[in-house]
Subunit: 190 residues, 4 copies
């Protein structure tokens, strides 16, 4: 089966999700700088979600690069990941409109948590499609980053009800952990 088509489709979808987030940003009403101020929360959450989608794109890119075989299960695991990412524009817009309320902040984290779970499922489906002793399995190893991210999301979501900004601080932390593309895979590929 063709890996290229899976990559192209995923890229197209992620690009499109970014588009929809841009559409939520809306053109400012008013003719001067003051018109930009009410857009600040939306802009900051846009930047955060843009970086998250960039992280997914980068890691997806690295992961697929180490892959040799795909099958029907992989297609669906990938589609499942795309489903959760497709909800990012909605939660981003909701958080941008209500940056101090706990529910939008929690839902924002829940969608990313489920995307992370879907990513883990995709990774496992890919590994089992390659067979043991594959390049991919050797490269990713214990997947510590993935596990830490899941943990951080699980902590951040209830924290949104204590102090909303604490949840966002943890989301930013997850982004920072991942900003470096997965050196393990890159190293093995080299």
């Amino acid at each position: 089966m063709s890996k290229g088509r899976l990559e192209a489709f995923s890229d197209g979808m992620i690009g499109i999700f970014i588009t929809i987030m841009v559409l939520e940003l809306k053109v400012p009403h008013g003719q001067d700088w003051h018109a930009l101020r009410p857009l600040a929360p939306n802009f900051l959450t846009y930047v955060l979600s843009f970086i998250f989608l960039g992280i997914y794109w980068n890691n997806h890119h690295h992961m697929l690069h180490a892959v040799e075989r795909i099958n029907g299960k992989v297609l669906w695991a990938n589609f499942h990941l795309l489903f959760w990412l497709s909800l990012v524009p909605i939660t981003t817009g909701w958080v941008g409109d209500h940056p101090r309320d706990p529910d939008p902040a929690a839902v924002y984290g829940i969608v990313f948590l489920l995307a992370a779970v879907a990513y883990t499922i995709l990774y496992r489906t890919l590994v089992s499609a390659q067979g043991e002793h594959s390049k991919l399995a050797a490269a990713v190893g214990k997947d510590r980053k993935g596990k830490v991210s899941l943990l951080l999301y699980a902590i951040a979501i209830p924290l949104a009800y204590v102090r909303t900004w604490l949840a966002f601080a943890l989301y930013v932390l997850v982004a920072l952990i991942w900003l470096v593309p997965d050196r393990r895979i890159e190293k093995h590929a080299a």
Copy 2:
């Protein structure tokens, strides 16, 4: 003629149709969980249509994989399929806004019925372009799944006027039938 360009174009279009459905989902008005409740019917129909488009993408992927030759007729048969799929976001939005009314439920099924007819036409056009005894014809065989789907749609559409939920139950059944990618083709390809 280049199969790759046909695949890429179809993928782009299907990705875009999903985008438009996401745009119909709209950012919730209100700052807490209650703001999500009125979005529930739209969300559920979004999930169903997302899965249907995923099925089309997967089967299209498998079918094209077994294809060796394409021609001008194939391009148009493919474009015809994309036309009906392009209407899915509209019917999905309509059903999401009026989940208990029979007309939107029937129109939702009609568009998927016509997409299924277009898929059958595309399949036949592809088979005749490959010549007899091709991999594709051997792989698909009697196309039982396709015929059952057409039948289920044809039953579901009038049923929408008896009990609307019955129509949806049949649509979900069609989705379940197809969720497994076409093993016949996959088996033959292996």
Copy 3:
């Protein structure tokens, strides 16, 4: 230079223009068939524009297939064509909202006329990039279809001010002329 990237970019753009047209179609307000009636003119112009963009995609596909070399001028000639096609969703929406008024009908034709001119420029730029005696030049020959289309648009635009429906009749005629992919190129390619 890479022909593949030019094709992919053009396909992406054309797919996106179709998207925007779908967005103009809007989800019906109301829960039954009557809600669909006011959408009829928008739907019919959507179908016509969908077919026109399909024609451009098909002919672009065939033309690029016969091409061996591209250069910087080709990139810009292609971008110029995409510019005019990018306006199709706007004119389609305008015509759909005012199907009996002459100005929208004329503007609809003007944009397609300019797209046809841009297509001719692209074709000539491609031919001159291939050098004389190329496959492409031999295949297209006198480009009778292209010339007839330009003529029909030039007649249809002023006719919109006599009888609006006459303009649309000629647009449909142009579509019918092109619906068959360019057999000359296909024949030579075979």
Copy 4:
């Protein structure tokens, strides 16, 4: 790592940014030519931004063509460029709505200035990934055009507060400088 996927993703994103600009153009309200007049400023800024994005696409195309190796840093430098370009539809819409006010004109320039900085960073990251004496480094040389553009943006932005039209005149000048694809690279590639 695959250059093709980076190209395809960038193309998809740029195509999508153009889409969003088209969406800002909106279907005219009213049934005759007068309905088009209030859209004129939006249309002109659309044309300018369309050309700017075309320039980025062309130069990106040329630059990547001379590239042999990419790495994780390149992916992020590219994503950084796409971030600034993603804001172009918003600033284009703002300028179109308020063509005579200095703040939108300045913000329009600032986003393009930051995109130009991001492009320079991407270029340097690519050069350092190729190693010294690469085709790319030899081809681009002193990057005079890039430096002049940065300078022109830096002059135009404060000028927006003196005479708004002067800022636009300089933006158009930058566009004219770049309209010719980078002949240095093209020459070396030939």
